[in-house]
Amino acid sequence: MNPVYYLYLAALLFTIGAAGVLIRRNAIVVFMCIELMLNACNLAFVTFSRMHGNLDGQIIAFFTMVVAAAEVVVGLAIIVTIFRTRHTASVDDASLMKL
């Protein structure tokens, strides 16, 4: 079996995650979907590193994880703050951008 299937899997996961971001209204779930997409990317990177036979891909994946961690921390903090003020975690309720 050809490891390129990993890439197909990554693509699939990524797409699913994207769709989730579009469909779900709960901010937390949206975040999870974003994480899913990041992970899909990581998988692709790892596969690439295997493909090229060097570790750079893994490094990138590593950095992605770190960034993802940071992003999650801040994002969740934001969600909590929003929840405190308006008692909902729905992304649709925070639609002040149009003003």
Partner: protein, 627 residues
């Protein structure tokens, strides 16, 4: 010696600067300063004249180059003066009559609180007029040309609080501007044809170029002359110009400025000689105008307007003569000078009459004034005799020569022109007699309670006397063995015309028509009393009262048309040109309004758009690599 020439112009210019910028502190001495400088200019002229007489006819011309004015590429205009016999004649006339009228104005404008400014303007006029006749190239002449236009504008509109005066001034300037366009185009033509527009080279080189160009130049010059000298079709401003103070009418609109056209044509004689068609046009214009002006003069009840009509017609004579070529130039100038004397005198007389009748101008309110203002009567009378060409007075000599020359043109046009000139003489006699009779003879048509006619002060009468003397003797003086003609000959190249009629025949004819005209006038105005209000009059009379409908024509065609044109243009500028721009702006606004709908503010719809964009990018990359 030639360094004095600049002084001629400088003196009045300094006066103008002093008086116009001096402010109130000069109010008391202003008129004296102005007069003094005018007289000074005359003195310089006299000195130069004397010097010139001392020289032989060949090298009388003086030339003074001050500095190079506009040097750009091949285009060189210099600030340089040229004083030859022709210019000298004008300089003497201008400064002489000018000085007299300055003196006259001291009395005439006594009660005007803006007298200082009046004298400033007069000096400005003198300076510009002298520049006009002294310039050694057409561009500098143009400066003087417009300068006198400005001065006349300021002086016609001197009583600005009168809307009629302001309008008249504007009209005069505008009509003159039309003429000026002609002059400027002529200069451009000269530049493109000869590469220069200085008198010397241009007039020397007329032989080398095609007749077409010369004709064009000639016609343009003629247009300019028409504007300045109030010739048909640009004559309409002269009548209204009488709104100005009478001294102004005398100086600018009788003696000097309006004759600038004659100067221009005479000066450019070489061009016209080489372009017969242009010359023909000149002659026609002259002939038409002399009749036109005469007819208008017959109908006017306003004494100044009547005189204005006469001025028009007399200048018609000059133009006619100038159009006749070498046989006429000298006589044109000669008539110009004599006319300068007697017409100025007549105007000053009219002014004096008005002065005595508290500014009443309607001759139907005059009558029998000879007893109240004898000096005015006598001087005016002498001027009258001069202008109708009474044998022995100056008008007789000059006009008679012109009529003779007109016949001498030869062929049918010779007869036509001569006839026209004769007819003009008759009409002149008629309307001048009319003026004379209505003003000084007949019974009083004014109310002794209101007006107390009285003789004017010395400052006014003396100039009148001097001018009267001039208008009596000048002609005779000039004609003593053709002194005047031979004086001008080096410049204007005189040749004797061969008239089909003998000189005596012409003279008798002139005298006959003169008597006829005068007699007719006496029958109509001398024998039976003049009605105080103008009768309706015949169709011709009514037309003539309205300047033969020329103004109405202008009003309907030019003024109305222009107003409509501008109004439509303003509208179009706002609706069409600007509208196009604003329209684009509006469409943009609408478009953005539509696009605004996409900004729903919902994060997820933005996310959809993002994903769409990403998809497009991926697709693009794939296509690039040619899937």
């Amino acid at each position: 010696m030639e360094n004095l020439i600049a002084l001629l112009v400088a003196a009045p210019l300094v006066g103008a600067a002093l008086l116009l910028c001096g402010g109130k502190r000069l109010d008391r001495a202003g008129h004296w300063i102005g007069t003094l400088l005018a007289v000074a200019s005359f003195a310089v002229a006299a000195v130069l004249f004397a010097d010139m007489l001392g020289k032989s006819a060949g090298d009388r011309a003086l030339h003074q180059h001050l500095f190079s004015w506009i040097p750009v590429g091949g285009f060189r205009a210099d600030l340089a003066f040229q004083l030859d016999q022709l210019s000298m004649t004008f300089v003497l006339l201008i400064t002489g009559v000018g000085s007299l009228i300055h003196i006259y104005s001291i009395g005439y404008m006594e009660h005007d609180e803006r007298r200082r400014r009046f004298f400033g303007y007069l000096n400005l006029f003198l300076a510009a007029m002298l520049l006009l006749v002294l310039a050694d190239n057409y561009l500098l002449l143009y400066v003087g040309w417009e300068g006198v236009g400005l001065a006349s504008y300021l002086l016609i509109g001197f009583w600005q609080h009168k809307p009629s005066a302001a309008t008249a001034a504007k009209k005069a300037f505008l009509v003159n501007r039309v003429g000026d366009v002609g002059l400027s185009i002529a200069i451009m033509l000269m530049f493109t044809t000869f590469g220069t527009f200085a008198f010397g080279p241009v007039l020397a080189a007329t032989g080398d170029t095609g007749e077409g160009k010369l004709t064009a130049i000639g016609l343009m010059l003629l247009l300019a002359a028409c504007g300045k000298s109030a010739q048909v079709p640009l004559q309409s401003w002269l009548g209204d110009a009488m709104e100005g103070p009478t001294p102004v009418s005398a100086l600018i609109h009788a003696a000097t400025m309006v004759t600038a056209g004659v100067y221009l044509i005479t000066r450019s004689g070489a061009i016209f000689n080489a372009a017969p068609d242009a010359q023909m046009a000149v002659v026609v214009v002259g002939a038409v105008t002399l009749l036109f002006g005469a007819i208008v003069g017959c109908a006017k009840d306003d004494i100044k307007k009547a005189l204005a009509g006469s001025t028009m017609s007399q200048i018609g004579y000059m133009i006619l003569a100038a159009g006749l070529g070498p046989i006429g130039y000298a006589f044109a100038i000669m008539h110009l000078v004599t006319h300068g004397f007697f017409k100025a005198g007549l105007f000053l007389g009219a002014g004096s009459v008005m002065h005595g009748m508290n500014d009443e101008v309607d001759m139907r309110r005059y009558g029998g004034l000879r007893r109240y203002m004898p000096v005015t009567f006598i001087t005016f009378g002498l001027g009258y005799l001069a202008i109708i060409g009474f044998p022995g007075l100056s008008g007789f000599f000059s006009k008679d020569k012109i009529i003779e020359a007109a016949f001498a043109k030869g062929g049918t046009e010779g007869w036509i022109l001569g006839g026209a000139a004769l007819l003009g003489a008759a009409i002149t006699a008629f309307y001048m007699t009319r003026v004379m009779l209505m003003t000084f003879f007949g019974e009083k048509r004014w109310d002794p309670q209101e007006v107390h006619p009285h003789e004017s002060p010395k400052t006014m009468t003396i100039p009148m006397i001097v001018l009267a003397v001039g208008s009596v003797f000048a002609g005779g003086l000039f004609s003593i063995n053709d002194a005047f003609v031979s004086w001008l000959e080096p410049v204007t190249s005189f040749e004797h015309g061969h008239s089909p009629l003998s000189a005596t025949a012409t003279t008798t004819a002139t005298i006959v028509v003169l008597l006829v005209g005068a007699g007719l006038a006496w029958l109509m105005y001398g024998r039976k009393p003049v009605p105080a209000v103008a009768p309706r009059g015949s169709l011709l009379t009514r037309a003539a009262r309205r300047d033969l409908l020329q103004d109405d024509f202008n009003h309907v065609v030019l003024v109305r048309g222009g107003e409509h044109l501008t109004r439509t243009l303003v509208y179009l500028d706002h609706s069409l040109v600007d509208g196009a721009v604003n329209g684009t702006a509006a469409t943009m606004g609408g478009l953005s309004g539509r696009l605004r709908q996409l900004q729903s503010g919902f994060v997820r719809s933005y996310a959809v758009q993002m994903l769409g964009g990403a998809a497009v990018l991926v697709a693009a990359t794939l296509l690039m690599r040619g899937v």
